[in-house]
């Protein structure tokens, strides 16, 4: 704890506390919240404050400023704090903070227009949640130890639940919110256990705990379990597509750019622990690759534009996890950064489209290129970046990831991710071609370009999606996660070629706006998706496993535990029935009892 209120901690505190203040204000002042617009402005003001602070912090880190922390002990036990509470500013947290605040601000500005048709109280509620989310996320990002990170982790979970269920009158939204909540909570058990193991072995929750390899494997494995839930990795990814029930900007912010990336961020943050856990890293590699491929496959057959993007998010998160599993912290983290920008861009563009055509279905779109040229441009830029076309941000980060995988585990992950790259280009090409080219279908006829408040954020994010890739070296330097050097070897060439091939195949199938989702190999995948493979598996597990187990436990509870309880109740009644005759209500009886008691006492006194 040095120089308590020096510039950096002050800025960091502002970054955390400004949204907290906004959320608190809106929570305790219903008359402001229910007015709608004032709530939005309060929320935006706090986000701007956060962004400025984050920018200052990053600038400081890019300059000569040392990493610094401003913390205080809490949960004091025996005079020793169990955990640290405060802010920890270094390259990793500063860069993540900037990403989070930029995306958040863009999404919030976008929302001002996007959510405009909501009733004022819902509008205010929406921005209250947003402020709360930004506070939670910043708390998580700036956490000085795992305990505070866990607090932020849970808070973003809560906010996610609130925002997915924003349209709480819609049953499906409520179900989706619950699903997301329960699945991430299930995963969070891993986090809690990891914290417990960590604390019992080191009496602290430090990121850079010195652990022996087996212990590190345990802790990292448990943490990774939480990451699987939070970052929607196979097989716990099932909540993410359903989370699209929330408003589209929410999907952009929470379920694409920031919150789901928190899992990846955790791994980056706790890199010293993961570095000692090679077995966990291998698991991560496998899970990441599998998720990337699997989700990309599912993305190809979705008819809902948001679902496509959701599965795409899963897939890209798989990239990051695979990179981290391969030991390339820089690759994973850099891909997180670039992905945050172009995925937010894609979601917001999709939101713009949905706002225009009032439908999520690809079948309702088409030919939007002419009616919404700017949105179309933004979406295409995002798609190119996502596919990793050379020159875009995605190209640089994906290249890092793929390069890290070279030769690992018999090239299998490498092949899987390459295939994913091809599939990515294919499904993005499909969406672009079906939605923006060809003839207008259904409601797309009446679509028109969105307003400046929605296009502004798109523009910012598009620029970032294109440009961020060139700052890889600076990024590597400031985060100190690895050496960055661009190498023009086979990997980028193959990746670029596959991406272009994917687009070409997409054009071959969907060129001219044909919606031919059921052809060829897609039919198989479609079948798999329609049967909702994973969901069904869970369902079967639930039906035959959980329910039977629950029935057995229920039987035990009903007839054994309740039986015991009933037995004791029955015994009490019987005893009371026989004892109550003692209470006759007739005063002389009581007097007699007193006399007998006195006599007994006296007799005892005589005898002893």
């Amino acid at each position: 704890m040095r120089s308590p209120l020096s510039e950096a901690p002050l800025a960091a505190l502002v970054a955390v506390l400004a949204p907290a203040l906004a959320a608190l204000l809106l929570a305790v002042l219903p008359m402001v919240r229910r007015r709608g617009a004032p709530a939005a402005w309060i929320c935006l003001a706090s986000s701007v404050a956060s962004l400025v602070s984050a920018g200052l912090l990053l600038a400081g880190q890019l300059g000569e400023a040392e990493p610094m922390a401003w913390t205080t002990s809490w949960l004091t036990l025996d005079g020793q704090g169990l955990g640290e509470l405060g802010v920890n500013v270094d390259g990793i947290s500063a860069s993540m903070l900037v990403v989070v605040t930029i995306v958040a601000l863009c999404v919030q500005v976008f929302s001002v227009s996007y959510m405009h048709d909501e009733p004022p109280d819902a509008y205010g509620r929406y921005f209250t949640y947003h402020a709360l989310f930004l506070f939670s996320m910043n708390l998580l990002v700036l956490a000085p130890d795992l305990l505070q990170l866990f607090a932020g982790w849970e808070l973003v979970g809560v906010t996610s639940y609130l925002l997915i269920g924003f349209y709480y009158r819609k049953p499906s939204a409520g179900r989706a919110a619950l699903k997301a909540f329960w699945i991430t909570k299930l995963a969070d058990m891993g986090f809690i256990l990891a914290l417990a193991v960590l604390f019992t072995s080191t009496s602290a929750f430090r990121f850079d705990a010195e652990l022996s390899t087996p212990l590190a494997n345990v802790v990292a494995g448990l943490l990774f379990f939480a990451v699987v839930g939070k970052s929607a990795q196979f097989p716990l990814h099932i909540w993410l597509p359903d989370a699209m029930e929330g408003p589209t900007p929410v999907s952009a912010l929470l379920h694409a750019a920031t919150m789901v990336a928190a899992g990846v961020f955790l791994v980056v943050r706790a890199d010293p622990i993961f570095a000692h856990a090679p077995d966990t890293r291998e698991v991560m590699l496998v899970v990441g690759s599998l998720t990337a491929l699997f989700a990309a496959g599912l993305a190809t057959v979705q008819t809902d534009i948001k679902k496509v993007l959701a599965y795409s998010t899963c897939s890209q998160l798989g990239y990051m996890v695979a990179a981290l599993g391969a030991g390339s912290t820089l690759g994973g983290y850099f891909h997180l950064t670039t992905h945050a920008f172009f995925k937010a861009l894609l979601f917001l563009s999709a939101g713009s489209v949905i706002h225009a055509v009032h439908s999520n279905e690809l079948a309702d779109m088409g030919g939007l290129r002419k009616r919404m040229p700017l949105t179309a441009t933004a979406f295409i830029v995002g798609s190119l970046a996502l596919a990793g076309i050379p020159g875009t941000a995605g190209f640089f980060s994906k290249d890092l990831v793929l390069a890290a995988l070279e030769g690992r585990m018999g090239w299998l992950p490498y092949v899987a991710l390459m295939t994913t790259a091809f599939l990515t280009a294919f499904y993005m090409g499909r969406v672009v071609l079906v939605a923006f080219f060809g003839e207008a279908r259904g409601k797309a006829d009446h679509a028109h370009e969105s307003g400046a408040l929605m296009l502004g954020p798109l523009a910012v994010l598009a620029v970032l999606s294109l440009g961020v890739g060139y700052f890889g070296a600076h990024f590597a330097e400031v985060t100190a996660t690895g050496e960055y050097h661009l190498h023009f070897g086979m990997t980028p060439a193959i990746a670029s070629g596959l991406a272009l091939g994917g687009f070409a195949l997409a054009y071959a199938v969907f060129g001219g706006g044909r919606d031919a989702s059921g052809v060829g190999v897609l039919a198989l995948l479609d079948g798999a998706a329609r049967s909702a493979l994973v969901d069904r598996t869970y369902e079967a597990l639930y039906r035959h496993g959980m329910l039977n187990a629950a029935a057995a436990i229920g039987w035990f509870d009903r007839y054994v535990m309740d039986g015991l309880v009933n037995l004791s109740g029955w015994l009490t009644l019987v005893a009371a029935r026989s004892l109550r005759r003692l209470q006759s209500g007739f005063a002389p009886d009581y007097v007699f009892a007193v006399v007998l008691g006195a006599l007994a006492l006296a007799a005892w006194g005589y005898l002893s």
Binding site: V595, A598, L599
Partner: protein
């Protein structure tokens, strides 16, 4: 010598009257017997050279407490006879309890080493007064507060009117109502089996009506008219 005889006499009278108090079947006799017991106790006090206490005993107990108790007896019953039944129950239990206590106390007393004659001159009334208003003045004042509280409390308890009518009235009313129903049934019975008007049947209803005044004390109108 004379004190011993007096004491023996008083003791016998005291225990005898006390036994009468707890055995008398008439509550009034019991209370008056209590007056006798307390008066004899006052004489015992006089014998023990506690004249002031004896005087207070008579004034407070005999003149106050017994009078109050008589009042209590008077107001808690209907004045329809001279005998206020005060029965006893659980004789065995009473003998057991009382006898046990006596044996216990007697054993303790006989075991103790007690003086057989006064160790000094009897305390005078003046010394009593200086004790009462000297070291024990706080208790004295507290006692006056207690008396005040007791008086106020007694008045509050006794004056409370929100209990509605005594159940006796309800019981009487219920009996009257039941009686009326019975009369009604009798009348119906008397009229139903004999469709032809008969002189002997006509006498039935008034006879049934005669049961009413004895239960609720009021003369029914129809009886006056018939």
């Amino acid at each position: 010598m004379i004190t011993t005889i007096g004491f023996g006499l008083l003791a016998a009278l005291l225990v005898g009257s006390a036994l009468y108090v707890v055995r008398a079947t008439n509550l009034v006799h019991s209370v008056l017997g209590l007056g006798v017991t307390l008066s004899i106790t006052a004489l015992l006090y006089a014998l023990l050279e506690a004249n002031f206490v004896a005087g207070v005993q008579v004034l407070l107990y005999v003149g106050g407490v017994v009078t109050l108790m008589i009042f209590g007896v008077m107001v808690t019953r209907r004045h329809d006879g001279i005998v206020v039944r005060s029965d006893s129950a659980n004789e065995v239990r009473g003998l057991l309890g009382g006898g046990g206590i006596f044996v216990l106390l007697a054993l303790s007393i006989l075991e103790s080493d007690l003086p057989s004659s006064p160790v000094g001159p009897a305390p005078s009334t003046a010394s009593l007064a200086s004790e009462l208003l000297g070291p024990h003045v706080v208790a004295f004042e507290a006692l006056s507060m207690l008396l005040l509280a007791a008086i106020v409390g007694a008045i509050v308890i006794a004056r409370r009117r929100d209990f509605g009518e005594p159940r006796q009235d309800l019981v009487t009313r219920a009996r009257a109502a039941r009686e009326a129903l019975r009369v009604e049934a009798l009348r119906a019975e008397a009229e139903a089996p004999s469709p032809e008007p008969a002189a002997s049947d006509a006498a039935e209803p008034p006879r049934a009506d005669e049961a009413l005044p004895s239960t609720d004390g009021s003369v029914p109108a129809q009886e006056a008219s018939s």
